[in-house]
Symmetry: C2
Subunit: 132 residues, 2 copies
């Protein structure tokens, strides 16, 4: 626990207590999503090996996949030179990181001056979440 | 210019007027760095094909590589489902994105509860910047 405190202090968790975290597919290196972590989310991620984030819109801790089942098994955690962004190499269970059903949240590409959809859809979100 | 306005409005440039931008190597898919863009940085990036960012610490527009020569040629721009994070696929001229001389800014890996250096050093920053 003492080392975890040191580890937390080593990061610049300062913008409202949050660091940005990029989830990258450990196999394909595809960038899947970006979310935020507070100290508790980081601690739980390290402890459990499953990605935990802090939802800014809901203001609550969130284990990725807790509703969809699409958890992220964390294979590696990296940090940048400014110690204010994390990079998680993950195994994305279910194959989709995006709540819209895409493999990656980055499924829009700039073409000229417009965003065009360009991503692999793994599930239909209306089907996936309708049971709630 | 009209379409550019629409394009800018399509993104959530709201946290102090900034969006996070991930630079990913277009060839290797390695995540190189994360920086911030304001509307002007985005506009210049699209217009020139070279990555421009907004430096929060210096509070000024910044063309990546303007001092080091290590510019980023932008091959593709993507946006996420929340329209608040950009993903740039870039050709990193000079091979190093990090001001410390590493290929990637994410050159520290969590081992147990400590960060260990784990990155390829392309140049020695003391040599590179000493001419100024």
């Amino acid at each position: 626990m003492h080392m975890m405190q040191d580890l937390l202090r080593s990061m610049k968790i300062d913008t409202g207590g949050l660091v940005a975290a990029i989830a990258q597919d450990a196999e394909t290196d595809e960038v899947l999503m970006v979310a935020w972590m507070n100290a508790e989310a980081f601690r739980l991620t390290v402890k459990t090996g499953l990605a935990h984030y802090w939802s800014r819109s809901r203001q609550q801790l969130w284990r990725k996949g807790e509703e969809s089942g699409h958890v992220q098994k964390v294979r590696e955690i990296r940090v940048d030179c400014d110690k204010d962004v994390l990079l998680l190499k993950v195994e994305q269970v279910g194959g989709a990181a995006c709540h819209l059903g895409f493999r990656s949240c980055f499924s829009w590409r700039l073409e000229g001056e417009a965003w065009v959809e360009d991503g692999e859809r793994v599930f239909n979100p209306e089907e996936k979440y309708k049971k709630r």
